[in-house]
Amino acid sequence: MSTSASNKTTARRTQLFDEIESHRGYLIRYATAKLRDSAQAEEVVQEALLAALSGANSFSGQSTLRTWLTGILKFKIVDFQRACVSERARTVSATAEEDSADPEWFDKLFDETGHWKEQFSDWQTPDSALEQKQFFETFERCMDKLPGPARRVFFQREVMGTETDEICKDEAISSSNCWVILHRARVSLRECIDRNWFQGKFS
């Protein structure tokens, strides 16, 4: 190969590397939305970018660079979720408890006849809360308090609007397990938002 041809190839590669790097911010936002964990998102994007760089020659240019990178990232996210699932499967006791009996905090919400122990308050003007930045921050804090699987499943279902079937596949759980996780997550979030926003507004 002549020197000029090799220089040209190097220049092209450098340019492609820069272009790939310029999509990092977008990819991190994408991964954060999927994983709901900024540290994990960083890690997965890093892996995806490394994979993209080493496989840069296979970028055909038929799709946009961003689409191509997002495709790689999707695979990395699924890999990552699978790894989390098998990691969890190894900590059997925690998973088993989550599957069968209701956790203590959940049981405590009901009396022995299965009625709510607490009287719920009527949320006043909830729609005006939707216009307030602090309200979204409260929502985020409440989501962050959910246990990992519940946080991911809830985020996928309610925020991203993913179908439960797809979530079950990603998380390697049964549909009924998925429904139970979502149910507890919703109850927990309702309570957290009530306590940290709507109650606080009047006390």
Binding site: F120, R157, R186
Partner: protein, 89 residues
């Protein structure tokens, strides 16, 4: 006419149905049981309204926050930490 076969549910069961109908289609019996319970239980009516609100909130959050603004604040600092493969001689 009262449906004799209608299964009465308590709040705990109604709450589960309230949530699950957002994720799957309930059977006719389940729908009837839930409807009956919601008619007589103000607490569950409120819970149901608030779950509806939670869904709307989540959608608005997706639109306004999660997918648009920079979610990761700390991530932008410490971006470059020299992740070149180590070529020790």
């Amino acid at each position: 006419m009262v449906n004799e076969a209608l299964k009465k549910v308590n709040c705990k069961e109604a709450a589960r149905l309230m949530s699950e109908r957002r994720d799957r289609t309930l059977s006719t019996d389940e729908t009837e049981s839930l409807k009956h319970h919601l008619n007589i239980c103000i607490n569950c009516q409120r819970a149901d309204t608030q779950l509806n609100f939670l869904s709307r909130l989540s959608k608005k959050y997706a639109k306004d926050v999660a997918l648009t603004t920079t979610v990761v604040n700390e991530a932008s600092s410490g971006n470059e930490n020299g992740s070149q493969s180590s070529k020790n001689s």
